[in-house]
Amino acid sequence: MSRQVTIGQRIFNIFNVILLTAAAVICIVPFIHIVAVSFSNAAAVQGGMVKFWPVNFTAEPYRYVLEREEFWLSFGITLQRVAIGAIVNIFLVIVLSYPLSKSVEKLRTRTLYVWFFFFTLLFNGGLVPNYLLVKELGLLNSIWALVLPGAVPVFSIILMLNFFREIPEELEDAAFVDGASHWRILFQVYVPLSLPAVATISLFAIVFHWNMWFDGLIYMKSDKYPLQTYLQTIVSAFQNISILSNTELMRLANLNDRSIKAAQLIIGALPVLLVYPYLQKYFVTGIKLGGVKG
């Protein structure tokens, strides 16, 4: 279909491209700047010469960060929580969503169960009771304090159970007639048919555990902080300005505090950057599954 492009439309198109480019630039430029700072020499950073490209390129800030024991300790804690936490999350989401996706005829107490889980989204005991509970269970400073309180991600369950409900009931009935148990039906019929949804909730679980910092701050001692909590104590500079600035090593190596922070931020963001293509791929599916339909 050929279409006459009027002058007004042409002006709008130009304006539109400029505006959207600006929006994209605002989203990406801060990251480019931080990357540039992290790879720049101290004098250049100090002199405010670094904009969007490293000045007097150096990888020294990264070497400095990667040689710190605290960094590797916190990185290890994060790897543990991502591995254990995500596996627990994914397993529970799959196993809980299956019965919750059944009709009331097949599970008479379904509505009760759904409300039982859903209510935790509406109301919670608050910070102090949660903290005291973890303390009294003796979980303080243990990896389980980072895994168990968030073990049941209700949003992911809603997403997953909505996906399971799209699977024709006849498949389940047929498998049942063939003698398959619920567990077998779940893992040999439902899960293989729901791989996009499983991928979505897996990515959410991994990113959630990688990004989570507050529980580390309140439940763990500083030598067991996960990476994001460790970064938090460095980054929120107003409270903790002394952590890095007095290090003698820094002056010796002629390093800039800003570059070191920038390098740590980039390392902290890197894994998310690596899974970003996958996040994107499953992301729209995820939203659509989430129940927000036009």
């Binding site: 709008f12 539109n16 505006l19 959207l20 929006a23 989203c27 990406i28 430029v29 801060p30 990251f31 904009k51 529970l92 196993v95 809980l96 299956y98 919750l100 097949k106 599970l107 008479r108 169960y113 859903f118 935790t120 509406l122 109301f123 005991g125 608050g126 910070l127 102090v128 009771p129 005291l132 509970l133 009294e136 168990l148 309180p149 073990a151 909505n162 567990w183 990688w210 990004n211 910092w213 507050f214 309140i218 909590t229 970064l231 980054v235 929120s236 500079a237 107003f238 800003r258 922070k261 920038a262 931020l265 902290g268 963001a269 998310v272 970003y276 992301f283 129940g291 927000v292 036009g294």
Partner: protein, 329 residues
């Protein structure tokens, strides 16, 4: 149905000693088969139920701390002294409490409004783009910040917003203006929070609206074009009405977050000098509870917030259900 017919025959569910008719026996067998089918389902739910009881419902009972003179030595389940509403009286006697409530609501409401407006505009603009590759690249870029934690984003923002070395102020001074202390000035802090929240989240919501826009029936546009509607009129009379329900739905649902000003974000960027404009209920609860160990007062504030939030969320979900038959599950 089956049960009713047996009842009309005079054999009620309780008359097990009476003669068992085949029909009635089938009913029992069916029921047994059904519950045998149900048992594994209950077992599947068990671990999750236990975890939720322990880590969600037990802390909910912990709200009694708000009515106690809590002694941490005796513990969460200890025999604590009840003091009625004394903690609430104390909280409301604090000089800054209403300022904190105001900060919370004003920041949250500004975030809700701009968080609705910006993504709608951007998604409409993206929808007008002819160039597919440019559209995809833009989409990809704008929701990148969404997936990063506020720790990382705050670190980046603190750097680029610094009054002396920050990129943003370098631009501002280059234009001949005075540098702005975005995170240290009470005049700017709340708006910086709102703007950076939009920056993090608008891409996500844009994609959401775009998904709604693409599900609009293309024949509506064709019909509009035949009627002589230009692109602007098509947007106004086809696209917007097409996503109207999504917009209203999200607006209604956002009512529930009027007290959510964003702990993760503010906690990582505020400092004592901007408490006046930036201290919110959640940061106050944290400082009172975990830094100053005022367990009871902190729980009281938290309980008030959770209670009001519960009410607001219930109203918003109910409204969404009445208006759109919207159901979460």
């Amino acid at each position: 149905m089956r049960r009713e017919s047996t009842n009309s025959n005079g054999i009620g569910p309780c008359s097990l000693h009476g003669p068992i008719f085949p029909e009635w026996r089938n009913h029992i067998l069916l029921k047994q088969a059904k519950s045998r089918r149900e048992l594994p389902l209950h077992l599947m739910l068990l671990p999750g139920v236990l975890l939720v009881v322990i880590f969600s419902y037990i802390p909910m009972t912990g709200i009694v701390i708000a009515f106690q003179q809590f002694n941490p030595v005796k513990g969460l389940f200890g025999d604590q002294e009840f003091v009625g509403l004394a903690n609430f009286e104390y909280v409301f006697s604090l000089p800054n409490i209403w300022q904190v409530v105001w900060n919370t609501i004003s920041i949250a409401v500004m975030k809700i409004i701009s968080g609705l407006f910006v993504p709608i505009v951007i998604s409409l603009l993206l929808n007008e783009l002819r160039h597919v590759l440019f559209k995809r690249i833009t989409q990809t870029i704008i929701y990148f910040p969404y997936f990063l934690s506020w720790v990382i984003l705050s670190g980046i923002l603190i750097d680029i917003l610094s009054p002396t070395t920050g990129l943003v102020n370098m631009v501002i001074t280059a234009l001949g203006l005075d540098p702005l202390y975005f995170l240290g000035d009470n005049k700017w802090f709340p708006f910086t929070m709102v703007a950076s929240d939009v920056w993090k989240n608008f891409g996500f919501n844009t994609v959401l609206y775009l998904a709604a826009i693409t599900s609009i029936d293309p024949s509506l546009y064709e019909a509009a074009e035949i009627d002589g509607a230009n692109r602007w009129k098509q947007t106004w009379h086809v696209t917007l009405p097409g996503i109207q329900s999504v917009i209203i739905l999200l607006t209604v649902l956002s009512l529930g977050s009027v007290l959510e000003a964003g702990f993760d974000q503010i906690f990582n960027m505020y400092s004592p000098q901007v408490y006046e404009s930036g201290d919110i209920i959640d940061t106050m609860v944290y400082r009172m509870g975990l830094l100053q160990s005022q367990y009871s007062a902190s729980t009281a504030v938290g309980l008030l917030k959770s209670g009001v939030s519960l009410l607001l969320i219930s109203v918003s979900y109910y409204t969404a259900y009445r208006l759109f038959r919207y159901r979460v599950f």
